[in-house]
Amino acid sequence: MTAVKSSPPAPPEVAPRKSRTLVREVIIVGVIAAVFAFLLPAILGAAGQGVRINQLGRFISLAIAALGIDLIWGYTGMLSLGHGIFFTLGGYAFAMYLQLQLPAGQIPDFFTLYGVTELPFFWKPFYSFPFTLVAIVAIPTIIAAVIGYLVFRNRIRGVYFSILTQAALIVFFNFFNGQQKLINGTNGFKTDSAPLFGAPVSDPKLQTLFYVLSVLFLVGGYALCRWLTSGRLGRLLVAIRDDEPRVRFSGYDPTGYKVFVFAVSAGLAGIAGALFTVQSGIITPKSMDIAFSIEMVIWVAVGGRATLVGAVLGTILVNFAKTLLSEQYPEYWLFFQGALFLLVVTVLPNGILGWLQSDGLLWLRTLGRPQKVSTYPSLEEDIDVKYEQQNLRD
């Protein structure tokens, strides 16, 4: 390597350019969010497609969970098949608060079915609205941190981690499903008729509020993940994904980092669960079945993992496809979904966005026309050559 001595100078500090792109990104995200939050409902409402607004709101809240999945799978390489736990916990936390919106002294109806006369102790804090808001995030986060710590501490990773999260999911499902006397078992909670801020949850005004809130939380979640993945922490996550043992020999303890992102993504799933619950009107242990948690992963995979925009895009696309297809041909949805898993993994491993980034845009631009063939692409991309080209021109 003779280039050592004659190497070009290091590029100047990129800080000013960085801040400019950041400003541009903030503006773009803000505009898109505003369109989704205010313009789109008006348009859809005018077109008589009011149902779609509610659907979109639910998908947007699912996208919050997808961001969390992307954070741990796309960036850190941990495939969780148990995020339904955290989603459901968030949903239950909010639903329990809503169940308790009763005249003083009464307890929710279902308790009487099972002969329970006194409110179980763990329900009591859910009388408080602030506590509920905290619990929606905190309970999933804490549980994820505990599970994560116990698993990561022992260097259980890869497939083993995925299987254990799935087992944890089954355990939580069994627990929620089996405990009628504590949390109404299989039936879960209906939230539609429960009052909130003086109106039933299904009231159009409240639903609009939840819709806007979903958009805002999605933007917030995006900003959070963007912040986490862009700095040194983000690079360390990628390092852990690519070569975890090596990270240890560089003097980092991966356990802490993995527990941290796992907990953050669980918190996001909790928020998603709460918002999804109030917009769909019900939460049951069914949202902890195996299929739903794996579905979350496929949203991210379709959009493109390790791209946050991809996670959001994939969620909304796949879910709309699901709604349309299962409205028309309910029996074919599973075939379609199965094929989607196969296709994404084998043909589009980087998802739609990854494909666009790598060669999709080029393909679209030259659609139908013969493509330019470059004989020595490696030479043209070589940084030394580029540098010389620039300097010669000066």
């Binding site: 390597m1 280039a3 050592v4 190497s7 070009p8 100078p9 290091a10 590029p11 986490l228 700095g231 040194r232 922490l233 690079r235 360390l236 990628v238 390092a239 994904r241 690519d242 070569d243 043992p245 090596r246 990270v247 240890r248 020999f249 560089s250 003097g251 980092y252 303890d253 991966p254 802490g256 980092y257 941290f260 940084i383 030394d384 540098y387």
Partner: protein
């Protein structure tokens, strides 16, 4: 005693009864450049695994700067000042060389300082200097997966130095390199040896002769002999197990 940076006493490691390291005694002075050679299966890499905490010894002690390493984990040992370069270059493929070095260089290696801390100007200067030392300035901002094998080797040595360790463990640094690159790495190591203690594992005898002052020969998990290159080369036992074996091939 304080001049010894690394001391290993009666070390034994067994995997299901197979003794990869057998009653090994070894010590290194502060500031020394030591080369460890030995035929395949002599236990060289296991030896490094033990020092860096990847494998725990079945018996015996490893003492680094007067501290017994047994209770510490890999990352703690790394923070104490032992850096390791692997046999095949292990750099973070999706990160650029600059980011690779920055990660190794960071002073505070816990979650919240990674999240909130910005890289100090001092660190940035160190990284810039290191990029120059390992000759990767021109390729500082492309993903490391695009680097050639030799460049990755140098990058990993750079990452090692960025950790500012007191003891560098370097496993086969010139495997798969051209002669010219080998010489480059050799002089890089010699330059580093002025301020660090270094232990090198190597097969390439030409290279060993270039850098070695003192050589340790491992055989079947124990030290066979120790001395200067000439002494070692003329030792009949070494010729029998190692060099003689090589001539057969």
């Amino acid at each position: 005693m304080s001049s010894k940076i690394l001391e290993i006493e009666n070390l034994t490691v067994s995997f299901d009864g197979f003794k990869a390291i057998n009653n090994l005694n070894f010590s290194m002075d502060e500031g020394e450049l030591r080369v460890v050679i030995g035929p395949n299966g002599a236990g060289k890499t296991t030896f490094m695994d033990i020092i860096t905490g990847k494998t725990k010894p079945t018996e015996g002690t490893v003492t680094f700067k007067g501290r017994n390493l047994r209770p510490y984990k890999e990352y703690q040992i790394a923070r104490m000042g032992i850096g390791r370069k692997f046999q095949t270059p292990r750099v973070y493929q999706k990160l650029t060389p600059r980011q690779n070095l920055e990660l190794s260089c960071a002073q505070h290696k816990n979650v919240f300082s990674s999240l909130l801390g910005r890289s100090a100007p001092g660190e940035r200067r160190t990284v810039g200097g290191l990029l120059e030392t390992v000759g990767l300035v021109a390729k500082a901002d492309i993903p490391a997966e695009l680097l050639s094998h030799g460049e990755k080797q140098r990058l990993e040595i750079g990452m090692l130095v960025a950790q500012s360790p007191d003891l560098l463990l370097v496993d086969e640094p010139v495997a798969g390199l051209t002669d010219e690159e080998t010489e480059n790495v050799g002089s890089l190591l010699l330059a580093l040896a002025e301020s660090h203690s270094i232990m090198v594992i190597e097969h390439d005898m030409e290279f060993v002769r270039q850098i070695a002052k003192k050589v340790t020969v491992l055989h079947q998990g124990s030290v066979l002999c120790e001395g200067t290159m000439d002494e070692v080369q003329n030792d009949p036992r070494v010729i029998e197990v190692y060099l003689g074996h090589q001539e057969d091939e």
